[in-house]
Amino acid sequence: MAQNNVLPQPIEQALNQLGGAITPEAHLTDVLAAFETILNALQDSSPESDAPANTEIQAIKDQLQASSKKLTALPMWNLARLKEAEEEVSTVVNATETATDKIMEHAEAIMNADSSNPEAYNTCVMDAVMQIFEACSFQDITGQRLARVSDTLNDMEEQAVRTMNVIGADEPTPDSEFSDRDQRKQDLLLHGPSNEGEGVSQEDIDALFD
């Protein structure tokens, strides 16, 4: 009976070899390679006469190799693009702020202009209006930057979906990533601006205060 518990030598060697190879830090491809090593050892120790077992092992090996190929064929995640997108958004925020400051400055100049001298007043207003027009050109540049950010996010989403499909990962449930920051947002009703068509109108709010 005791002899039945002894593993064939090639399998025992394979398992010993793998013991240190499969760690929590191991990549999925390493795990698949480890299984393949075990299957190879099983195949080597299986008698040639055991055709059904050998066929079964070969089928599993083929499946593992197909999975490995799918994994290695996954697109590389270009994290530098995410960093670039972050910088683009930051630039847009700064450009918007700069342009808004400039527009406000010239609007205030109009507001405070002395209208007692019509000619000087007219010159001041026209000059300020031209400066406001110039400042509004930020929208074209920021639009292009945001289009690039949108492209990056779409590409990343596509890559994430492909990766999840290959590794068979489920989409995270809202609860699984509920952070302290999310809790604070929920407690203090920090939803941020509503999307178009969502949220209550000023008229609806007014009705609550009448």
């Binding site: 702020e97 808004t100 400051d101 406000m104 609007a107 205030e108 507001m111 203090l188 009703l189 920090l190 939803h191 941020g192 601006p193 509503s194 969502e198 949220g199 209550v200 109108s201 000023q202 609806d204 709010i205 609550l208 205060f209």
Partner: protein, 128 residues
């Protein structure tokens, strides 16, 4: 009773631009005594130091939100009577209901115009 046009108004918003917009609108409406704070904590500190005739506050600010400021103000016997208008992009019903329950005097959703600001101010502090 006539509105005191020289009363001090505290505008609370973490965006300098929004403070500038509201301050200019108030100036156009005839209120020149306008002070500002960048979040609820700074506003509360300023309110405890001096009296304001009206507070116009954003909701979404760090570290202290406008909603927290409102609840602190209403819990403080000295500050409690101060008229408080919330001006915010938070437009969910639960926000409006929570603010009303906490004692806000009126609620304006961003983006807003001068006419809306004036009409809400009139309903809170009286005609001017």
């Amino acid at each position: 009773m006539a509105v005191d046009m020289s009363m001090s108004i505290l505008v609370v918003d973490d965006y300098k631009t929004m403070i500038r917009i509201i301050s200019n609108l108030l100036k156009q409406l005839g209120f020149n005594n306008v002070d500002s704070a960048a979040d609820g904590a700074e506003a509360l500190e300023k309110m405890r130091r001096g009296g304001y005739g009206l507070v116009i506050s954003d909701w979404n600010m760090e570290p202290m939100t406008g909603y927290e400021l409102l609840t602190e103000v209403r819990a403080d016997a000295k500050l409690k009577p101060t008229p408080f208008i919330m001006v915010t992009a938070e437009s969910k019903t639960e926000n409006v209901v929570a603010a009303k329950k906490a004692g806000v005097n009126n609620y304006i959703v961003k983006p807003f115009n001068a006419a809306t600001l004036k009409s809400k101010m009139v309903s809170v502090i009286g005609d001017f």
